[in-house]
Every structure is written in C-alpha cells, then in structure tokens.
Subunit: 226 residues, 2 copies
C-alpha cells in the first residue's frame, strides 16, 4: 500500500528508539504518510530507509525533529522521559496549531518505579501552551508487539487521556487504524497512571518471562457512548 | 455451600461499604469462613445478616474490626482512603503474624484524581511493621460486578502488588477462588498505579455510561512462570 493523501501526515518525533519505529511501521502499513524525526538527520534517515525496505515503500521520510514537526499534521513524541522536556522546549513554535501525542516512556528501565504527578503529558501541555492540543496515548503498546509480523493483529487497548475531546477522537482514529481499541480515560492528569503502568508491565514481563504484557479494558460497552 | 473448615477465615475490615460486602459474598459463596468487621458491631452484624440471608447461610459473623482481625487468618481492608491510616493504627497488635490485603479505594469519588506515591499499601506496611505481610489487591474489582447475580462470572483480572511472594500467592488463591485471574505486578510501591487506576475507571465509566469498567491483562502467558 502506498501512502494516502487524504490521511494526515504523522511525524514520529524522537522516532529512532524502539516504540517510534514500531508505531511508524504500523501506520505506514495502513497508508498514513510518515516522517521519522530525530535530533540527527542521518539517524532519522537510517530508520526511514529501514522501514521503507521492510514495507516495500519509498514514502517514509527521515528529517530532523523540527522539520518533521513542521511537515506533519499530527506529531507523536516517543522519546525516553529524560529527553522529554528538552525535546519539547525545542519544538514550541513548530507544534503550534497541531496535536502532540505524548507517548513518552515514563520509566527508568533499569529501576522501574511509578512516577509522581504531574504526568509527562501535563508537563508537555504546560510547556507547549494552549496553541497545542496534547493527547497522552500509546505509552503501553509493547514495542515487541508492534514490530512483530504485520499480519499478526495487535492484542491490547489504548487508554487515551486528553483535555480536548476532539483531539482525543482524532488520536482514537489513529489507534483504531492499526487495530488498537481506544478508550477515553480522562484528562491529562490521569495520564500519570498510564505512564506508571509501564513499571508494572515491566515487573509482570519479568516475573512471567514475557515481552508483550499490556492491558485490555473490560466491563465497558463503547456503543453506549453518547 | 457451607463454610469449609480447611479454608482460612477471612475478615473484611471496614466491610460495610460497597466493595467489602461484595467480596465477602463471593468468598462465602465458595466456602470461605467470613467475618465482617466494622468500627460498630451493630453495623457489622447488619451486613453479616444481610449476606447470610442472601446466601442462605448462617456462618457469616459481624464483629468489631479488632475482634474480626483477631479471629481471622487473612484480613482484607476495604475502607475509604480517608479512614485508612486510623483503621491501621488501631489494628497493629491484632494483625501481627497475618496477611493484610489492602484494597483501599484511593480516590475522592467526587473529584477523582490519581494519588501521589507512596502507595496506600506501602503506608500500611510502614504502619504495621515487619510482622504483617501487606499485599495490595482487589482495588479495581467493581462493587457493581461483585454484587450482581452470583451465577454471573466476574470478568476482570487482579493486579497483585507485594514485597512477599508467598503472601502474594496466598492472595492469588483468594482471587482465583472467585474467578478472578491474578497477576503479580511488582512490589508495594507499584500499588500506587493500581490505586490510581480507580480514577481512570471512574472517568471511563462516566464517559461510557458504565459501572463495571475494569481491566484484563494481555500478552502474558502465566504458564511460562517459573
């Protein structure tokens, strides 16, 4: 499939880790125009080339974060938490008028403990100001699952936290486009729980010798949404 | 079914709210000897009588919290978070040598926001000292689901946080006895995330007009546990 001009362009900022390329691959595979962003152009281009080769595409671009953000309608931030604030400080102008999906892994992988409020997503909203609609999502979709065979459906749900319901709904469409059921889970302050869930999933993966632990929502009928 | 003398006696401390009687009913129904604890004997006896009538039993007792704790092998604390510390301060002697399952609802239901560390379960362990094995569990099993028709199986998983793995396993048996799959999710510090999940489930229930939102674990094969 080639990219579809009617779909919004997605930039994956800090997209050279594990989670970013996994999400990029899934979205490119269903037709979204994708730009990989990185602090270094060459790193971004290397990941873009790798994904293009894997998907038999040539549409995925690799750019510096700021150029990637400028060229996209929706930006997804997939940095490690230690790089979160600096990445955002450098993108305030570029992100104006856009949706910033904060998927930051809020965890020290060597010593996973749950974070204290405020949530990374709330910090992002405070840095970026009212001209950017921040949405917290995708923090707990296991990279190992994203990067598996594309024919294998994803088997987890996405809890989306946002202050702006229309931005939330745009991000829910992104989730559902790659087979992830999306649930609205409250405002950006609630994202601290989803960010903290990463530490629990690491504990569970370690105890049960897995790499793909995640969660499903149960007991809610989405059809009854007003 | 009558209570089974080979099963440990469970005291539900602060067991006159919504969650406590729901858990008590499920455990009594599969044969556990149950004591309802409350600050006031009459309130405990009233709930015990109500549950006995519902289940056609006469074995469920109602006692003051301290007497209930003394008479049980495993104690489950189901108070609201504002009563958590005072309840524990009054039970330090009674709980010595036992397992205390902390199921405290760590939320202000009128204004649900995720809590900051430390977890209620860690606070409990600090108050009770090393002679009590604290286990965090059952915070997010919806009372509305527990109190439904007993023939209707429960449809959610329990994340168990504990510093002591053998105590965790004893509590996992309690969960599984009433049809709840149990997963070890790390130490007592991790319980802050499970406690915070209550705020998200309230947001989700409100948005989707449900009362039974909860979570399942996915992507983990428990058989591969060592």
């Amino acid at each position: 499939m080639t990219s579809n001009q009617s779909l919004p362009t997605i930039a994956i900022l800090g997209g050279t880790g594990k989670e970013g390329p996994g999400l990029a691959m899934r979205w490119a595979n269903v037709g979204y125009p994708i730009i990989i962003g990185s602090r270094k152009t060459e790193k971004a281009q290397a990941i873009a080339a790798e994904l293009n080769a894997k998907l038999n595409l040539d549409s995925i671009l690799g750019l510096q974060n700021s150029a990637a953000a400028l060229s996209a309608e929706i930006c997804v931030l997939t940095v490690v938490h230690t790089a979160h604030q600096a990445a955002l400080d450098g993108l305030i102008q570029e992100l104006k008028g856009k949706i910033l999906v904060d998927a930051t892994a809020r965890v020290d992988f060597r010593q996973p403990t749950p974070p204290s409020p405020p949530s990374a997503a709330r910090i992002a909203q405070n840095i970026l100001g009212d001209d950017v609609r921040v949405v917290a999502a995708f923090q707990n979709v296991p990279a190992a699952a994203l990067r598996k065979n594309l024919d294998q459906p994803l088997d987890e749900d996405v809890l989306i936290c946002a202050d702006d319901l229309s931005a939330m709904e745009e991000v829910a469409v992104l989730a559902e486009s790659i087979g992830l059921e999306a649930y609205f889970a409250g405002d950006l302050d609630n994202a601290i729980v989803v960010e903290g869930m990463t530490s629990l999933l690491i504990s569970m993966n370690k105890h049960y010798k897995s790499r793909t632990g995640s969660i499903h929502v149960t007991g809610i009928e989405k059809d009854s949404d007003s």
